[in-house]
């Protein structure tokens, strides 16, 4: 059986918001707490990878997820950020944790 076609939902430059979900119980999440709810821009599409939330519990045949590198403005991520307003942070995030940013979101990461 061939793999399903790779159709990432987002492309480079798209404004995305990280889900502000805080699942409890048995879990293995690769989305850092500090970035949940924050808005940035897709820097690149990295490809399709196994879901670490399944892999950690022995499921190796689940669907592969698009993985992105998303760039955030540091001044948007940390309220008291003291460095250059142009400073950024890039984070790898799986598609299941991203939503299209709402219009008028205050982040302007590019």
């Amino acid at each position: 059986m061939s793999a399903p076609p790779f159709r990432p939902r987002f492309g480079p430059g798209d404004a995305v918001t990280v889900s502000a979900r805080f699942p409890t119980g048995r879990r293995h999440l690769r989305t850092p707490f500090y970035i949940r709810g924050k808005t940035g821009a897709v820097e690149r599409v990295c490809g399709a990878y196994r879901n670490p939330e399944e892999l950690a519990f022995g499921t190796y045949d689940g669907a592969r997820l698009p993985l992105y590198r998303v760039r955030f403005d540091q001044a948007h991520v940390w309220d008291d950020y003291a460095g250059n307003p142009a400073d950024t942070i890039d984070i790898e995030i799986y598609e299941t944790w991203l939503e299209p940013a709402a219009a008028g979101d205050d982040s302007n990461a590019a």
Partner: protein, 216 residues
């Protein structure tokens, strides 16, 4: 007890009694878990004890010298540099026969306007096959938690002062990618052969906590 442990400096007298220097500390929970897992995998024939030893040997053979060769090549070969920045793993594999043994290597370039630094806040992801084993500080809570929040302060503690007008770009290595910082080639090293350049490319410059310096 007389012995010839290599831990002893030359000339160390052996005519007295003391406990042998041993690496047999009591094992904690995770050491027991690792040992039990290893035994089970070997018993089930997933891999042999020899396979495991050979893999440890292979990992120990890798050092920052591998990454330094890649950086030196990028400094001297603009076409290679461009391909490396676009497709890290593919380029180092096809053009230098260096296999980073990971999904991909994202190569990020320092310039007069941008300084890059790499951290893994969730654990300690590190490109072992091109940089060797990570230093202890890379795995510390302090480095992991502070680098994302105050990168300029952390870099200052490494003796790396970034001009306030230069952009600092942090890369949190949270998933399948691994990172290699391509440091700026220091002034005065133009025209140096690759082998000589590779010597000044240190581990810390490829993680982004230091800038490359012309030696001497």
């Amino acid at each position: 007890m007389p012995h010839d442990a290599p831990e002893h400096a030359p000339g160390h007298a052996h005519d007295h009694d003391h406990a042998a220097i041993e690496a047999d500390e009591p094992q904690g929970y995770y050491q027991h878990l690792a040992a039990a897992t290893r035994s089970l995998l070997i018993e089930k024939g997933v891999f042999s004890a020899g396979d495991m030893r050979a893999m440890i040997e292979k990992i120990d053979e890798r050092s920052p010298a591998v990454g330094a060769r890649i950086v030196a090549r990028a400094w001297t070969d603009p076409d290679f540099r461009e391909r490396l920045l676009a497709q890290g793993k593919k380029t180092m594999k096809e053009e230098m026969d260096i296999d980073p043994v990971v999904a991909d290597i994202v190569v990020v370039e320092n310039t007069a306007d941008v300084h890059n630094v790499v951290v893994c806040t969730l654990c300690s992801c590190y490109p072992v096959f091109i940089l060797g084993r990570p230093p202890d500080w890379y795995k510390s809570y302090a480095y992991r938690s502070r680098t994302v929040r105050d990168p300029r302060g952390v870099l200052r503690e490494f003796g790396t002062e970034i001009d306030p007008g230069r952009e600092v770009r942090v890369h949190d290595s949270t998933a399948d990618m691994r990172y290699l910082v391509l440091p700026m080639q220091p002034e005065g090293t133009e025209g140096w052969p690759e082998e000589k350049l590779a010597v000044i490319v240190t581990r810390d410059t490829m993680v982004g906590v230091a800038e490359a310096q012309a030696a001497g």
